[in-house]
Symmetry: none
Subunit: 235 residues, 2 copies
């Protein structure tokens, strides 16, 4: 007697500890890479890749390619809802909380993404520019008239940027903040300004360490306020 869709195949996907851990890591809506998910699940990258293929085939997760990375996210809120419900059921038997690994705080605060600023400061930058109406759009970003004037004043040769093949503004997905930050020619220019004025320096990794004065100057230059900063994810 077949009744409705067969739940077993889907449930079996959720029933493997490695896959369940990966999905749990994606529960907050962020998009994570294969490597990060592999670490979260405690398996090698090959194994994680195989698991993610199955999850993607079942449309439980969706993937976006970005440069050399592949970012996975839950395919929709309904998936998270089912996971939530399953946690409720699991609590009856016994609630288990898994270990939490502290990540590099500096990387999350500010880092270089290819050639532009990412991390918390990068997200705050885009938030602030959008709030002031200097850039517009959601994922397809554009420089407004006010924005052109602002950056022109700032000493950026906007006309030259617009002549190039590369998009002036590009929304780049942030792995640490799960929000968009500013890429493109303008993003690269801003990073070069930050480095040039020695507001911060790049250490050996991709982390960008702001000086105390530099951070203040950065915030003032782009008129960023505390409301632009993404909420601190709980440790």
């Amino acid at each position: 007697m077949k009744e409705g869709p067969a739940i077993a195949p889907v449930a079996a996907l959720l029933g493997d500890p490695a896959r369940a851990n990966m999905l749990g890591a994606l529960m907050d809506g962020r998009a994570l890479t294969v490597s990060e998910l592999a670490e979260a699940a405690g398996v090698t990258i090959q194994t994680a890749s195989g698991h993610l293929s199955k999850l993607e085939a079942a449309r439980l997760v969706a993937a976006e390619k970005q440069g050399r990375h592949r970012y996975f996210r839950l395919s929709g809120p309904d998936v998270a809802q089912v996971l939530e419900a399953l946690m409720g059921l699991a609590q009856r038997t016994g609630a288990i909380r898994v270990r939490t690994g502290p990540k590099d705080a500096a990387l999350r605060a500010a880092r270089v993404c290819y050639d532009h600023l990412a991390g918390e400061r990068g997200v705050a930058l885009l938030n602030g520019l959008a709030r002031q109406g200097l850039v517009t759009g959601e994922t397809e970003l554009a420089l407004s008239e006010e924005g052109r004037a602002f950056f022109q004043c700032f000493g950026v040769d906007v006309a030259r940027l617009e002549k190039g093949r590369r998009p002036v503004c590009r929304a780049c997905l942030d792995w640490s903040e799960r929000r968009l930050h500013l890429g493109g020619a303008l993003g690269a220019t801003i990073l070069s300004i930050v480095v040039e004025r020695q507001w911060g320096r790049r250490d050996e990794s991709r982390a960008l360490v702001f000086t105390c004065d530099g951070l203040a100057a950065f915030n003032q230059a782009f008129r960023l306020t505390s409301e632009d900063s993404p909420e601190r994810s709980l440790a």
Copy 2:
């Protein structure tokens, strides 16, 4: 990184076809014996017994001994809710609907979800009650003052329902309609009324077959109009 209870062990239980079939057979809220569940799952009694032991240990099902028989039922409405939600996921992800036929159509029209009404009629019921302002809220449903009066008039002891531990109104996601229908103590009461007044009868599956007169009486009793019925889902 915040982690909740580990879902993998529970999901793994649901991930076995034999166990999933047994749980599906219990979805109508009745209690079945080991033999019946073994037949429903297509396995021998020994195998079924082993599965049921695991399900009982995880508190997904509860057992009652009666003479030489042992009756198993779902341990609660929340289990049924998770199963329904999983069916929704399974369908959305392009699940293999093994057999589609008249039985499937009947299930979509009206069926029993644990102890309340689901399917097209169940969705229409909640729509109508919400349209009339008898129940309020989106996912967190509540009975309005008018609603209390309405059901009181109807012969429902609302005060008694409110005294119980179980929520009076509960929104349950429908796998066939992808809409919410009414669960909770009130939902269960309404189903019992439908059966009691012989507006419809339960067949051997979860389907609930309305009589022609019964359907009219049902619609009239809850003042449902055609606008309350969900649009026919395409293909």
